[in-house]
Each structure stands twice: as structure tokens, then as C-alpha cells.
């Protein structure tokens, strides 16, 4: 059993997406040294964070983890709802995570805590499923969509890693579907006329962006190994959601063959709905969050209904950081250089100023 571990040098992968940026902002005052890496520039400069251009799909990331003497990795570079094609998503989710795990593995590795972002999509959605997914119900025999398959593979890799490396506490957070920053589900529900499956009214569950970030921060700062569902309390029926959004349901999708429904959605609403979401709007997906509540002593503050109403009010679009002009990145590089300079004995110079 590991001793109580205090995160000292933290690396956040996928820090440039809005969730990663929010997690970094919340972690910055809590940890001594914070690194962030991504392939894209961060949307905003965070003075306390060192940004590194690194792609998790290359093995360099594992060297980076050892070189920087990282002791806590927050792995958020996991694509779930993304416009990329399934091959690119597989590369990032499975190969990228594998590289990160290689960096964390072995007795030589300084990593003592690993937090991995997963998604509700890992459960898929089908009529044979129970009404509530608890943590042990993932790993369907035949995953219905490529994202579900990727996430299952990712979680299996993480599970094997956790078994082999007992010194490293591993937390997997299955985040619920979020309705902010232009997710496919939010765009779908915001349509004026929403094509729904004829004769289906599924139960949906949503998670607020703040609660998602808060769960990740709590997992990073606390000692909570295991797999956890993170979802808002309660449910919203699809018909209710459409009513709250002020749209109209058009029951035109046929429940025979998912590709047909996807084709119809593309033709009628110009919306590319990934396979797992097409299943969700047909059969619904709700997670049981009781394990999170008992282990963390905390649960998402906003219920599914409140998240829904937030989207309807348009307040959800409240951007955490405005997209910054290009010079922001230069500024950040300058700030980093200055801090590194301070560490390298130039402190006296700064003190005299």
C-alpha cells in the first residue's frame, strides 16, 4: 500500500481543450509545479503552468514524463465526442494512452498517481441494458460503436497497468455526457426541429462542465483509486429536453439499423452523430453515481435537469477563457523563460528589482 501521496509535479495531457484548461486553472494554486501538454496551443496563458508541445501518439511522451520527474499524471487527451474519423480517435485514445502508461510504468518511474478520463460512452446503449449502469457493467461482449470499443480497450490497458504497478494509484473517471462547448449532443438538442426515433423517448443524463473539472481535480488531490461514474443526479427524458429547449420533436428516425438513422440525421439536420450517441438518443443511458458519492464524499452539484435548463438559457455557453490572440502564446513562452531563468540562479537579479 502506498503512503499518502501529495501531488508535487503534475502533468496534464490534453490541456488545450476547454476541460483541460479548466482543470489546469483549478489545479494551478493547489500544486507546486504544473506542466501541461497538447498538440495545439493552449487557448489561454496560465502563468503557473509550463506548456509543452507534445503529442501523446508519439513515444516521446513517455520520455518526457521521466525526464520531467512527473509524480502525478492527469491524462485528459482522450477523444470521445470529436469530429475526427474513427482511426484518428483510435490512435489518440488507445495508442496515446498506451504511451502515457509506458511513461508511468515500472519501478523506475516516479509517477505515483494517474488519473484517466473516460466517458459514459464506454457503456454503449441498448434496450437490453439495465436502467442504471454501475461501474462493473462496462465491457460488453460486442461493443456497438468504435468509440465504445476504443474506450473499453483503453480501460483494459489502464486496468492491466494498475495491476502491475501497485505503487501507482490509478483513478478512471467515466464522465457523463456534457452539454457545453458545442458538443454534438448540445447541437442536436438545440435544433429547431429535432429528428427523434419514432416511438422512443429515452432517459438521458448530463454532467455540467464545472462538475467534470471538479471531479478530476478532486481525484488528483485525493487518494481515490478505482473506476468511478461521474454523472448529474436524476434524468431528463428526451421529449422533456426538447420541450425545455423550445424545439419540436419530429419522430422520423427509424430504429432499424443505426447507419440509416445516422444517414437521416446527416441529411435532415446536417449533423454528424457518432454511433454511440445515435444509440443513446434511441435507448438512453443513465449511470449510477453512488460509488463516487461514497468514496469522494462529493457528488456533482448540478442535476441533469439543471444542466439542461442551463443550456436552454444559453448561460452554459459562458466561455471560461476567451480565445486569445496569437501573442498570448508568445507571452506564455516569455513567462516560462523568465521563471526558468529565476530557477537557474538569476534569482538575485529579480530580487534586486
Amino acid at each position: 500500500m502506498t503512503l499518502a501521496h501529495r501531488p508535487n509535479r503534475v502533468l496534464i495531457t490534453g490541456v488545450s481543450n476547454p476541460l483541460g484548461a479548466e482543470v489546469a486553472r483549478r489545479l494551478a494554486p493547489e500544486v507546486p509545479v504544473l506542466f501541461g501538454c497538447d498538440i495545439a496551443d493552449p487557448v489561454s496563458a496560465l502563468e503557473e503552468m509550463d506548456f509543452v508541445h507534445a503529442d501523446t501518439r508519439h513515444t516521446a511522451i513517455s520520455k518526457l514524463i521521466r525526464r520531467l520527474k512527473i509524480d502525478t499524471v492527469v491524462h485528459l487527451a482522450v477523444l470521445v465526442d470529436s469530429p475526427h474519423d474513427s482511426r484518428a480517435i483510435h490512435e489518440t485514445d488507445v495508442i496515446g494512452s498506451m504511451n502515457v502508461l509506458v511513461g508511468c510504468a515500472g519501478p523506475s518511474s516516479p509517477v505515483r498517481r494517474l488519473i484517466v478520463k473516460s466517458s459514459q460512452a464506454v457503456y454503449g446503449a441498448s434496450p437490453t441494458d439495465p436502467s442504471f449502469f454501475s461501474e462493473e457493467m462496462a465491457f460488453a461482449d460486442r461493443p456497438a460503436s468504435s468509440i465504445t470499443a476504443d474506450l473499453i480497450e483503453l480501460e483494459q490497458l489502464v486496468g492491466e497497468f494498475a495491476l502491475r504497478n501497485q505503487t501507482c494509484g490509478v483513478t478512471v473517471l467515466r464522465l457523463g455526457f456534457r452539454l457545453s462547448d458545442d458538443t454534438t449532443l448540445a447541437r442536436y438538442l438545440s435544433l429547431p426541429i429535432v429528428p427523434t426515433f419514432a416511438g422512443f423517448d429515452p432517459r438521458l443524463q448530463f454532467l455540467h462542465e464545472d462538475d467534470a473539472a471538479e471531479a478530476i481535480v478532486r481525484a488528483t488531490l485525493g487518494e481515490h483509486p478505482g473506476v468511478f461514474n461521474v454523472g448529474g443526479a436524476g434524468i431528463v427524458l428526451l421529449s422533456q429536453a426538447i420541450g425545455v429547449m423550445g424545439g419540436r420533436a419530429a419522430p422520423v428516425l427509424l430504429p432499424y439499423g443505426r447507419w440509416l438513422a445516422q444517414l437521416e440525421l446527416r441529411a435532415l439536420a446536417r449533423l454528424d452523430v457518432p454511433g454511440h450517441l445515435a444509440d443513446v438518443i434511441a435507448f438512453g443511458s443513465v449511470m449510477d453515481g453512488s460509488k463516487l458519492e461514497s468514496e469522494f464524499g462529493w457528488k456533482p452539484r448540478r442535476s441533469s435537469k439543471e444542466v439542461m435548463e442551463g443550456l436552454a438559457r444559453g448561460k452554459e455557453v459562458e466561455v471560461v477563457e476567451m480565445p486569445s490572440p496569437p501573442q498570448e502564446y508568445e507571452l506564455q513562452v516569455y513567462l516560462q523563460r523568465r521563471r526558468r531563468g529565476e530557477r537557474n540562479g538569476a534569482r538575485s537579479l529579480a530580487a534586486h528589482e
Binding site: 434496450p127 436502467s131 442504471f132 416511438g199 432517459r203 436524476g234 427524458l237 420541450g243
Partner: protein, 344 residues
């Protein structure tokens, strides 16, 4: 938060007062509009007078005004429900109690007038707390479930909603999936049963499943295998008593002569029945026959007195399952004897 809003935001939130203007086009005279408004009232008054006259002539009630009023109430409730918008409460399983209760009068007509259900032992159903109702399953379509639900809600001193477990196949079908969930049914998964019982609900389970509904008419009132006794283990784990329920009459609503298995396979159904009326008469063949029904609720079997570990003891579980099956089978024979005829 109050007072922090900006003038701009307040302006955005405020709603303009709507000025209601008369609809353009032809407007009927005032007298006609008043008559339109009062038409339902006049119709009821006329019906009332007709009922009184008929009673004077024939000597007994031809038109039951209570039922007429029940029907009017039903329509009124449906109209009210249609106006409540998107903001209504459903529980975590998607159950809408208000909506379900609005259908009660429709099911009461079937219960009281069509199948003339006689219910005994409804006092064995607890007024509070959890219990697992276990019933025999018959009749091609699951009308027996609706009648058990109606019986508990209408006859019990504390009306309660029964939450039935249905085969997952039906939750994959259009309309049915939506209707079943909305009226409180959920998928027959041990985890769902446990969750419902932990919320102190009444849960109805048909251990025979489609083996019961899809059986031939010549096998009527012979119980099929009771699953693998899973319902007993779930009840023991959830500390819930089991109440056996015998239903008589459901076998005769659709006398199934044969099962066209290839057709069933093509449509993805568990069976495709051939009855004297289906599929020969088209949709009219779906009308169930007006058999005479009896429902008996047996005294509870207190399986929760066994320790939780007993749920894994397969021999005890099967023994209890057999005991419950025998109780239901004997109840069926008793009630068949008490029934004067199939349609009487």
C-alpha cells in the same frame, strides 16, 4: 446573485406583454359561440334526462351516469395533461405517475365491465414497503400485467403502483418502449429489480416470461418452468417478501392454435400466434375475447427471513421457487373451479 444583473440582461429576460388580437377571418355570432361553449353541458343534461326516461320505461338503469361522468373526467384529464408542457416530474426509471393514473379509468372499464375481474386477497399486498409479486403469465399479449396493476391500484385500501419487469425485447420496440417506461415498467434485469425493491416499491415479475405467453391453447393453465429461480435470490438479497399471484382468464383472451416460428423469426418476435381471429381478421383479430377473470393474491412467503447468504444456496432457492410455483398452480385450479364458465 439578486441585484447583480445588468440592465441589458434584465431586458433580455423580460417578456413583452402579448396583446391578444381577435383572429382574422370570419367570426361566428355571439350566440353561436356561446352555444359552442356550452354544448358539452347541454349534452350531459340531455343524456341525464334520457337516462331518467329510460329508467321510467324499462325499470332499470340503461345508462349509468357515473360511467359517463368517468369518461368525461378521463377526457378532461387528458386535456389537462396535454397542457402541462415539458416540465413534469418523472422518477429515475422514467415513470410518470400522473400520466399513468390518467389511464386508470380506461383500464377500469376493461377491469370491471369487459373481463369482470374478481380479485381476492388484495389485503395480502402490503400497504407500505417493498414486496415482489410473482404471477403466472398467459395470453399472447401481456394484458394480465395491466390487470394486476389495475387491481392493486383500484382495490387496495392504499392505492399503489405496481412496477412490472418486462423482457428487454419489448423495450427495443417503438411505441412500446416509450409507453412501458412511462407507465412504470422497467427491464427485467436483476439490478433493476434490486433498485426498485430498495426504493420500497411493489415489483411484479413473470418468471415464465415469453414461455408463458407464447404457449399453445391446449396447454392452458399449466405453468412453464420458473426461470432459474433468480427472482427468489433477488428477493432474499433485497429483503423483500414474495407474494404469489394466480390469474385465471388470461389464457382465453387469445386462444393460440399454432405458432408460425419462421414468420416470428423474420420479424424478430418470440412467437407469431395463429388464433381463430388473428391474422384472418386483420387488426380486429387483436381484440381480446371477453373471458371471465379471477385474480388471487396469496399470503406472502417471507423469504427475507432467510439470511442474505442463502441467496447463493441454489438448492434452497430452487426449493422456494418450486414452492411458490405450486402455490400459484393450486391457486389457478381453485379459481378455475370457482369460475362458472369461461365467459360467465
Amino acid at each position: 446573485m439578486i441585484g447583480e444583473t445588468t440592465a441589458q440582461e434584465r431586458k433580455r429576460r423580460s417578456k413583452k406583454a402579448e396583446i391578444v388580437q381577435p383572429r382574422p377571418g370570419l367570426r361566428l355570432p355571439k350566440q353561436v359561440r356561446r352555444l359552442q361553449r356550452r354544448a358539452p353541458m347541454y349534452a350531459l343534461q340531455g343524456l341525464n334526462e334520457l337516462a331518467v326516461r329510460l329508467k321510467q320505461v324499462t325499470g332499470h338503469d340503461v345508462i349509468d351516469l357515473n360511467r359517463v361522468m368517468g369518461f368525461v373526467q378521463f377526457l378532461y384529464k387528458q386535456q389537462e395533461l396535454a397542457q402541462r408542457g415539458a416540465d413534469y416530474a418523472v422518477d429515475d426509471f422514467g415513470f410518470d405517475a400522473q400520466w399513468t393514473e390518467s389511464f386508470l379509468s380506461a383500464f377500469m372499464v376493461l377491469y370491471r365491465d369487459y373481463w369482470r375481474v374478481e380479485t381476492t386477497g388484495v389485503e395480502n399486498v402490503p400497504a407500505h414497503g417493498r414486496a415482489l409479486l410473482v404471477a403466472n403469465h398467459a395470453g399472447v399479449l401481456p394484458w394480465d400485467g395491466t390487470m394486476i396493476k389495475t387491481a392493486v391500484f383500484a382495490e387496495h385500501s392504499h392505492p399503489r403502483h405496481v412496477r412490472a419487469l418486462v423482457a428487454s425485447m419489448f423495450l427495443g420496440m417503438p411505441v412500446l418502449s416509450w409507453f412501458l417506461r412511462r407507465t412504470g415498467q422497467t427491464v427485467g434485469h436483476p439490478d433493476d429489480t434490486r433498485r426498485l425493491l430498495e426504493r420500497d416499491e411493489l415489483v411484479l415479475v413473470f418468471p415464465e416470461g415469453v414461455r408463458g405467453t407464447g404457449k399453445n391453447f391446449k396447454d392452458r393453465y399449466r405453468l412453464r418452468r420458473f426461470g432459474r429461480g433468480g427472482f427468489v435470490s433477488t428477493a432474499i438479497r433485497s429483503r423483500a417478501p414474495i407474494i404469489p399471484v394466480s390469474v385465471v382468464g388470461s389464457e382465453e383472451i387469445y386462444p393460440m392454435m399454432a405458432d408460425l416460428a419462421p414468420v416470428a423469426k423474420f420479424f424478430g418476435l418470440p412467437y407469431f400466434p395463429i388464433t381463430p381471429f388473428w391474422p384472418w381478421l386483420g387488426p380486429a383479430g387483436l381484440i381480446p375475447l371477453p373471458s371471465k377473470w379471477r385474480i388471487q393474491f396469496h399470503p406472502p412467503v417471507h423469504v427475507e427471513e432467510h439470511p442474505v447468504e442463502a441467496a447463493d444456496d441454489q438448492s434452497l432457492v430452487m426449493e422456494l421457487a418450486d414452492e411458490i410455483r405450486d402455490t400459484i398452480q393450486e391457486g389457478i385450479y381453485d379459481n378455475l373451479r370457482m369460475r362458472r364458465g369461461v365467459f360467465l
